[in-house]
Amino acid sequence: MKLAGYVLPIDRADIDTDQIIPAHLLTGVETTGLGEHLFKGMPGGRELLEGAHPQADVIVARENFGCGSSREHAAWSLRDRGFRAVIAPSFARIFHENAYNNGVAPIVVAAEHIDGLLGAERLHIDLIDETIATPDGGTIHFTLDPLRKQFLLEGGYMEFMAKRIPRVRGWLAAKAS
């Protein structure tokens, strides 16, 4: 699966989920329609999005993206606004999982690549091959979690879990006996 690859560069580290979507906007019960709230908690967030390419679907940022609150609304708002990948040297654990479950690829690349990627207008990203083709003709390989990659590309986390129920019940029964 290939992305359009238009980049929204955010040259910041530690972008926490309060910045991605602040708590006062977590009052709904649906997972859709949150794109309008994206980055409302970030200083300069609105200007950042206004300046983005209309088809921007990739964010490049620095380390520890998605730290803080567990709110899956962060991933929901990114997805709803059309973002399909975030490239960063590292992600906070909970956001990392939430991103996979919502079609937003958390792409980990070495910190040394970030300066170059922040400067790129467009990247060719192939989530199946796990490659980023850079404007200078180079290729960056990344690794997705092989199990979660399936959820990323096709969804199905809950279906996967539903199929595990008999096995879990069996494990529990064996443990109790």
């Binding site: 926490d16 009052t27 997972t31 908690g41 567990s70 590292s90 809950m158 595990r164 879990v168 494990w171």
Partner: protein, 456 residues
């Protein structure tokens, strides 16, 4: 092979190894609150027949916006309440509720060796009991409600040994901020922190919860304190714990939950904390802190300084304040309120000060001791229990540029209100600062009655 405490708990909960180094991990207890649970509950209702793996393992707690502030939050509460009723899930509703990380332990829903998950990052608080307690997203919580399990990569284990007794004036909050400063704001990402050492042994459960609460602020999956007599005596007699011999049998089992000698860790850190002094954050994450007696550091990041309206070298004590807040899952338990009340007794606050107990049970206990009188006599606002101003969601929001000293856990940009500036500190430091109107420690306050004495 000798095992860490975490190794033992992890291996007792792995149902199945999955591709890519993942594991299907059984969840003994799910804590559900009104902000992150409804979407997952609706998903199961709409697409999976509204069948839960085991409602008895779930507890629902009306938590963040309690009581509801508008139609949307009322709907969140109603969905949680209706869902709990439909499935026979224990529910702690408005009036008997509070912050889930305060209510769950005080009612005895957490115990050593269990796995516990909640759609809330500060679930790590409950690692204080020697439980594997972690925050998760809504989808992961829904998966656990449906199938009893999470999919997790096995975290590495970081052993942090704390030695020495906390000196007068130093608190578990200062300890938490100190640990984060030592290992870094993201230094424990994908690690469980296994605490140990004489300091931990000397801490009460309230203090251990304060320490573990902020494990997530170094990126950790959770913090973990080895269960001991302090843990067992806290749990003895709690509402959801068995009584008599059944409880003592559990205690005998919990006593075996120790790291083996010779257990190996991904990393090990030993810190002597006997000289620890109060710490206050100056920046925009909990790792950006300095001693209360210190200054904004010379290597402070420009972005943090700009947001916080600070310059390098400024003494923290010189910073004027617009609001003070005592509360949150970090510091809203009875011992925290006592510490704040000890500072405020007989004194007056000079800035708007909000005191929010962590649960209605904490509130009642505090009022039986007259703490509500102390706070209100001092001119502070004494509220019902909730997350309160901590996350700028329901009440006590601060204005752009306003500076608030807070006993909470996050000083992120906009956390307590767009453009608001947050300094994290212990309840005693927050209380002293509320009296003086600038960042201050209790030792700066004139003795109570000194002013009257001089007039006479």
């Amino acid at each position: 092979m000798p095992q860490s405490l975490f190794d033992k708990i992890w291996e007792a909960h792995v149902v199945e190894e999955l591709p890519g180094g993942n594991a299907l991990v059984f969840v003994d207890r799910i804590v559900a609150h009104e902000i992150t649970t409804p979407a997952g509950a609706l998903e199961i209702q709409r697409n999976f027949g509204d069948v839960l793996f085991d409602p008895k393992r779930i507890v629902a707690i009306y938590d963040h916006v309690s009581p509801a502030k508008d139609t949307e939050t009322a709907i969140q509460g109603k969905i949680l309440r209706d869902w709990a009723k439909r499935h026979g899930i224990a529910m702690h509703d408005i009036g008997q509720n509070g912050i889930c990380h305060v209510v769950a332990p005080e009612r005895g829903y957490v115990e050593p060796g269990m796995s516990l998950a909640c759609g809330d990052s500060h679930t790590c608080t409950l690692g204080a009991f020697g439980a594997f307690a972690l925050g998760i997203g809504t989808t992961a919580q829904a998966g656990a409600m449906l199938a009893g399990c999470l999919i997790l990569q096995r975290p590495k284990v970081m052993k942090i040994t704390l030695e020495g007794r906390l000196a007068h004036g130093a608190t578990a909050k200062d300890l938490a901020l100190y640990v984060i400063a030592q290992i870094g704001f993201k230094g424990a990402t994908n690690h469980v922190i296994e605490y140990g050492g004489s300091t931990i042994e000397s801490l009460s459960m309230d203090e251990r919860m304060t320490l573990c609460n902020m494990a997530i602020e170094s990126g950790a999956t959770t913090g973990l304190c080895p269960p001991d007599e302090t843990t067992f005596s806290y749990l003895r007699g709690r509402e959801r714990q068995p009584t008599g011999e059944a409880f003592e049998r559990n205690v005998a089992r919990w006593r075996t939950l120790r790291a083996d000698s010779g257990a190996t860790y991904a990393s090990e850190i030993v810190l002597d904390v006997s000289g620890l002094r109060p710490i206050v954050t100056w920046g925009t994450n909990p790792g950006e802190s300095a001693p209360l007696d210190g200054t904004v550091p010379a290597d402070a990041s420009a972005a943090s300084l700009e947001y916080m309206g600070l310059t390098r070298g400024t003494p923290l004590r010189s910073l004027g304040l617009d609001q003070a807040f005592i509360g949150s899952c970090t510091n809203s338990r009875l011992s925290d309120l006592r510490a704040a009340a000890d500072v405020l007794r007989g004194r007056k606050v000079t800035i708007p000060t909000i005191v929010t107990p962590g649960s209605q049970a904490v509130k009642r206990a505090a009022e039986r001791e007259g703490l509500h009188d102390v706070f209100q006599d001092a001119g502070a606002l004494w509220t019902h229990s909730s997350c309160g101003p901590c996350l700028g969601m329901s009440m006590g929001v601060i204005a752009p540029g306003a500076r608030c000293i807070s006993s909470t856990n996050r000083n992120f940009p906009g956390r307590m209100g767009a453009g608001g500036r947050v300094h994290l500190a212990s309840p005693a430091v927050v209380a002293a600062s509320a009296v003086l109107g600038h960042i201050a420690g209790p030792e700066e306050l004139a003795p109570v009655g000194a002013a009257e004495a001089s007039v006479r």
